[in-house]
């Protein structure tokens, strides 16, 4: 049997959340393997260090809270030029809001980014003119998609809704052998958790660390699974939620 491990050379992948944390780590790894990457984020200055050689990296600044404008991005000539082999939905926001203050507009805004922008991108991606057969979609859920924590009604609800999307879309797109999976990280050291930790006492931070038997994760602990899911090595895997959490959720 010929094994080609995680061969992503020449693949054309769209990644949201490309400007920070895990999403940026995925872009760097894809580019280093010779893939062509289209990155979406708001703050272009945060990717100024990514190499633009051979036009392998295209950055599209866009606020994904604006769902209605997403389709327009795909009309951009350089996006439409070549059909996509992969879609990674990594843009997301974490917030702690007690239920008593969680009014409709606030929670809707979190759903816009964490859920609806991903569904809209998947909807457009799923059209034959934009994606190849056998392509792969990776959603970012979280261990919070199946577990809970006080103050996280919004975050947990969006992340478990993502799992529902994965379940249904994987069946709907199987006809074209398009695979749809989720990854669910535990706490990973990124700008997102830095912000969260700054709001917690040292004691709380220590508690969170201790809830991860293998300690807090690093970006490089999450990226390889995403590359595997994007590659043909995972061509028989769809509709799954893969937890990458240092043992957090097994307790």
């Amino acid at each position: 049997m010929a094994m080609k491990k995680n061969d992503l050379k020449g693949k054309n992948i769209l990644v949201t959340g490309a400007t920070s944390g895990i999403g940026k780590g995925i872009c760097i790894a894809l580019l280093s393997q010779g893939a062509r990457v289209i990155g979406i984020g708001r703050d272009e200055s945060k990717v100024s260090d990514l190499s633009f050689e051979d036009n392998k990296f295209l950055f599209l600044p866009y606020d994904l809270n604006n769902i209605d404008g997403i389709e327009g991005l795909f009309q951009n000539n350089s996006v439409a030029q070549e059909k996509l082999d992969g879609l990674v939905l990594c843009a997301g926001k974490e917030e702690t809001v007690p239920l008593s203050l969680y009014k409709g507009d606030k929670i809707k805004s979190l759903f816009n980014l964490n859920l609806f922008s991903g569904i809209e991108l998947l909807r457009i991606f799923s059209k034959k003119k934009f994606s190849k057969d056998n392509s792969s979609v990776v959603f970012f859920s979280s261990v919070m998609g199946e577990l809970g924590q006080p103050g996280k009604v919004g975050y947990c609800a969006t992340k478990s809704a993502v799992l529902g999307v994965v379940n249904s879309a994987s069946l709907e797109l199987a006809k074209r052998k398009i695979r749809v999976n989720a990854v669910s990280p535990g706490v990973v050291a990124t700008p997102m958790t830095k912000k969260l930790f700054s709001q917690l006492s040292d004691e709380n931070v220590k508690q969170i660390e201790e809830m991860h038997p293998l300690g807090i994760g690093q970006i490089e602990d999450v990226v390889p699974t995403v590359l595997f899911l994007l590659s043909d090595d995972s061509k028989w895997i769809t509709g799954q939620n893969i937890k990458i959490d240092g043992g957090y959720s097994i307790q």
């Binding site: 702690t96 809001v97 007690p98 008593s100 203050l101 006080p150 103050g151 700054s198 709001q199 917690l200 006492s201 040292d202 709380n204």
Partner: protein, 76 residues
């Protein structure tokens, strides 16, 4: 918002059952637990766009000290 209105609204959000004034100390309240702190942080962030961190919360004493932290100029 006046200081008095702020104190009354915050006490309402935190569901504090005793009467509170600017001199009431958070540490003395039964409601001052992790949920109470979360409500306070969320309420202050929503009304004043001020994010309080763990260190700010640990330093709080009275409601007046919270008003000082937010900035007296933000009250009418």
């Amino acid at each position: 918002m006046t200081k008095e209105e702020f104190i009354a609204e915050l006490a309402e959000e935190m569901e504090i059952e005793t009467t509170v004034t600017a001199e009431t100390n958070f540490q003395e309240l039964d409601e001052w637990d992790s949920m109470g702190m979360m409500v306070l942080i969320g309420f202050v962030s929503e009304k004043f766009e001020v994010s309080l961190n763990a260190e700010d919360i640990a330093k709080l004493t009275t409601f007046e000290s919270l008003i000082d932290k937010i900035g007296v100029d933000k009250f009418s």
